[in-house]
């Protein structure tokens, strides 16, 4: 009995010493939220003398309902965040400079958008991505975008609906209008054999007449990277073409019209599924892009009665043509002009023909433009809606 108590006593003593030692260290990574400069978005630009200019969008934690109202109402231009930038040899260097000018510790944990200025993009981004992957604080799931002009100006934009550029860009990317690429995806694309990448392209909408100050960043197409350098751009329509095979096509309206007919039919995409089927026959490499899509009719301005199955068949055929047209358009651009395999053909070939792939890996750049691409698209118009065509005839009378 006494032994047990003695053991207990020593154990308690050790526990006390252990606990007090934790209190006495005085140096742990505890930081109050009041001592953090929460970075909402970061921008990288090419600075002077081959430097990197790092711009950050910092959140101002101003209480929402402050008693002194006059201060708040006039605060318009600055809003709830501000942009600060600094130059340095590397991003880390620039960040250290930036820290000198901030009273609070820079905190990357909530930065969900990384913007790259087009000049830097053309110069090369591989070295800069290293920081975002290596540093433990930034999210590797942050979205990466390329900005037309300077990233800094895009960050400074104050959109109409959202509080700041960070939320604006994040939400736009989420809506699947363009491609969506995170830091992790980008790094994976860059470290792949084909070494190509595609990033969404951001432009500032021109200021409206009502408010000249406000500029709204929107996504317009995509930027294509090869060997870490931006080599070209895809237009909005071409970007849609790559969304289909990338399985990123989630929403969209397709409008078709028929020759010799007035009006057109607009269809909304319900769901789509895509598959890449590679094949090598007699040394000829070819790729079949298989697409299945379900659609519903949103508007019909033609005279066609959509309750007629023949009309539906005709419309489906037309939609297939439209989709394939877009895909064909972007494929020629990618194969002939940019020679950039951003759809991941290389992966598909590697999966199916690992032996052949191993032998030909080094010649991929020569093989890719020569691949014969064929399309196999199946479209189903699922819902035509309740309205029939009679009301139109009534209007004509």
């Amino acid at each position: 009995m006494c032994k047990i108590q003695a053991i207990k006593r020593t154990f308690t003593l050790f526990l006390l010493i252990f606990l007090s030692s934790m209190v006495l260290t005085g140096c742990w990574d505890r930081t109050e939220i009041n001592d953090l400069a929460l970075i909402l978005a970061a921008g990288m630009d090419k600075g002077k003398n081959n430097n990197i200019e790092l711009s950050v969008l910092v959140f101002i934690p101003r209480p929402q309902q402050s008693g002194q109202g006059n201060e708040m109402s006039s605060g318009g231009s600055s809003g709830q965040s501000f942009v600060r930038s600094a130059e340095g040899k590397t991003i880390a260097d620039a960040m250290a400079r930036l820290q000198e000018a901030l009273t609070r510790k820079i905190f990357w944990g909530q930065s969900e958008v990384i913007l790259i200025g087009d000049k830097l993009a053309k110069k090369g981004i591989s070295e800069q991505i290293d920081f975002w992957m290596r540093h433990s604080e930034p999210r590797i799931r942050a979205d990466v975008l390329v900005a037309k002009g300077k990233a800094k100006t895009v960050l400074k934009a104050i959109p109409e609906l959202e509080k700041d550029a960070s939320i604006q860009l994040r939400k736009i990317v989420k809506s699947h209008i363009g491609v969506r690429v995170t830091v992790k995806d980008l790094l994976q694309m860059l470290s792949h054999t084909s070494n190509v990448a595609v990033l969404p392209w951001v432009e500032n909408l021109p200021p409206t007449q009502m408010d000249k100050k406000k500029a709204i960043p929107i996504i317009k197409g995509a930027a294509v990277f090869k060997d870490g350098k931006m080599v070209g751009r895809l237009s909005d329509k071409e970007t849609r073409g790559i969304l289909w095979p990338r399985n990123e096509m989630k929403t969209g309206v397709i409008t078709i019209s028929f020759t010799g007919e007035e009006g057109s039919i607009s269809l909304n995409l319900l769901r789509s599924h895509n598959k890449l089927i590679p094949s090598i026959k007699n040394g000829k490499w070819s790729m079949r892009i298989k697409t299945n899509a379900d659609l519903e009719v949103f508007q019909n301005t033609t005279e066609f009665n959509l309750f007629d199955p023949n009309v539906i068949k005709k419309a489906e055929k037309k939609v297939v043509y439209e989709i394939e047209e877009r895909e064909r358009l972007v494929m020629t651009e990618l194969q002939k002009k940019l020679n950039a395999d951003i759809l991941g053909f290389a992966d598909e070939f590697e999966k199916k023909y690992p032996q052949i792939w191993k032998k030909n890996r080094d010649q991929w750049n020569e093989i890719f433009p020569e691949i014969a691409v064929s399309f196999d698209t199946k479209v189903k118009i699922q819902r035509t809606g309740l309205a029939d065509e009679k009301h139109k005839r009534g209007a004509e009378r």
């Binding site: 742990w28 930081t31 939220i33 959140f59 101003r62 909530q110």
Partner: protein, 524 residues
């Protein structure tokens, strides 16, 4: 460990000795001389104003004395059924006087005794005694009567649906309440008296055949081991007989409700009833039973299951909410969704304290308010609640000392600890919250996990009367889960919960196939 609270090591000087129970008094037999007996008793009850000695003579021939404590015995009945027949006894007495006297007393409960300590025992429980000249035996008459509180619904365990009666301070009333619920003779009630001065009557109730014999023996053994001056409440006994005296977790349940006690008896548990308190103890107790309310078994099983899950969730909220808040806000800011963090950052911007201090301040204030609310007289209670609402609400945030998310966390935590149906378990989570908060303030979520791990490890080692504390949670036998994860409908709860791994009891408590269905009907 045996000596907890009663250390012989230090205070063991010869003249400072523990007062043993009356059972251990020397057995002085009654003297044939009535005067000597009276002298002994009078010197024993010196300066006891409430002890009544009434000398009288049976049929004016034989001297006798009636002895009782005023206020404990029914004086009217004594006069009518004891004194009057004896004094008015007319016929000259033939044969043994003792038997004759016993015949004359028209009271059902009559006992004989032959020693002085027996007298002390009998009159202290309210039985008047009669001593007769030249007799070495005395008679005690069962006529106790004292003021009792009337039965009322227990405040701590109210139900919407269920019986409204509760135990009272009187042991006999409590045993009768149990006996009225379980009428079978197999319901046994062993009586033990504990306490050197108080001589508190304690009853160990169990159903023979349902409760393990080893359990009953262990309970009685532990109760008999208690040697202390007095037992005034069940809490005294609870702390003296629990398995791990230093654990913050309750290892015996307590209840004021006869229906809960009866249900526990039917599950094969043992009830300890204590004179002088409406609280009875239930042994053994498992962790899952802390989160079961009596009403669970009276309401439809769907709602009972849902509410039980609500309790499980809020048990963790009550334990961890402030610490998780502090940990995430001071260590893991990246863990929150951006917009949530920005909102919290905005509200915290002007708060002068670190999150840990803020949380501590608010939690301590909340505990203080609650304690004040319990202790205060009812007339002042309203004032406390108004001040409390101001301190923990509007004024706190308006003054800029506390952020409003913190107020919410504290409020939810407060509500959560009330959601635990057993008050004793609620106290435990209130208590454990604070060390976890300190850990989280120092080590972040790592500290929270450290705290949880320690608690779970401790729970795993706990036992209540040989039954593992996490019994029904850890065993993972599907049959035991029916009253833990869900509250199975009554027709499906066909076996008693398993308490011991080697269960020798009959565990079936329903005939098979009890689910009602139209085919089974035989009427109309």
């Amino acid at each position: 460990m045996k000596n907890m609270g009663f250390r012989k090591k230090r205070g063991d000087t010869p003249n400072i000795q523990f007062k043993e129970s009356m059972n251990s008094l020397p057995e002085i037999p009654l003297n044939p001389s009535l005067d000597i007996n009276i002298d002994i008793l009078k010197s024993a009850y010196k300066d006891c104003a409430d002890v009544v000695f009434r000398d009288f003579s049976i049929s004016s021939e034989i001297n006798a004395v009636l002895l009782y404590i005023d206020g404990l015995s029914n004086t009217e009945e004594i006069d009518q059924h004891v004194l009057m027949p004896l004094i008015q006894l007319k016929n000259p007495i033939e044969g043994p006087i003792f038997e004759r006297v016993k015949k004359e007393i028209s009271v059902s409960d009559i006992k004989e005794f032959s020693t002085i300590p027996d007298i002390f025992k009998q009159i202290s429980i309210g039985n008047p005694i009669i001593l007769i000249e030249r007799q070495t035996m005395g008679i005690s008459v069962g006529l106790p009567k004292w003021e009792k509180r009337s039965m009322k619904e227990p405040d701590a365990e109210t139900v919407i649906r269920g019986p409204r009666e509760g135990f009272v301070e009187t042991l006999r009333v409590n045993t009768s309440l149990l006996r009225r619920k379980i009428r079978h003779p197999l319901l046994k009630m062993k009586q033990i008296s504990i306490g050197g001065y108080t001589e508190t009557q304690v009853i160990v109730a169990y159903i023979e055949g349902l409760a393990e014999n080893t359990l009953v023996n262990e309970v009685t053994h532990r109760l008999k081991r208690i040697k202390m001056d007095g037992i005034l409440e069940s809490g005294y006994i609870e702390e003296m007989i629990q398995d791990s005296p230093l654990s913050p977790f309750p290892q015996l349940l307590n209840t004021e409700r006869p229906d809960v006690a009866a249900a526990c008896l039917l599950e094969g548990r043992v009830i300890i009833l204590i004179d002088g308190t409406p609280f009875s103890l239930i042994a053994p107790c498992t962790f899952s039973s802390l989160l079961q309310a009596p009403e669970d078994y009276y309401n439809p099983f769907y709602i009972s299951t849902l509410i039980r899950w609500l309790r499980y969730i809020f048990f963790f909220i009550g334990l961890l909410a402030p610490s998780a808040y502090v940990a995430i806000l001071t260590f893991h800011q990246e863990m929150l969704p951006t917009s949530l963090l920005l909102t919290i950052a905005q509200s915290r911007e002007q708060i002068p304290f670190p999150a840990l201090v803020e949380a501590f301040m608010m939690e301590v204030t909340f505990e203080a308010l609650r304690e004040a609310g319990v202790r205060l007289p009812k007339q002042v209670g309203a004032a406390v609640s108004i001040v409390g609402a101001l301190v923990i609400g509007q004024a706190a945030t308006a003054s800029g000392l506390v952020s409003s998310p913190m107020v919410m966390v504290v409020a939810i935590t407060g509500i959560a600890s009330f959601l635990v149906p057993r008050y004793a378990a609620g106290i435990t989570i209130r208590l454990l919250r604070f060390p976890i908060m300190i850990l989280s303030g120092m080590l972040g979520l790592l500290g929270v996990m450290l705290g949880i791990t320690t608690i779970v490890a401790h729970l795993c080692t706990l036992k209540s009367f040989g039954v593992p504390y996490l019994n029904s949670a850890a065993g993972l036998k599907l049959r035991n889960v029916k009253d833990v994860l869900v509250r199975a409908p009554w027709w499906a709860m066909d076996t008693r919960p398993e308490l011991f791994s080697e269960d020798t009891r009959n565990r079936r408590r329903e005939a098979e196939n009890q689910m009602p269905s139209p085919e089974k009907g035989d009427g109309g």
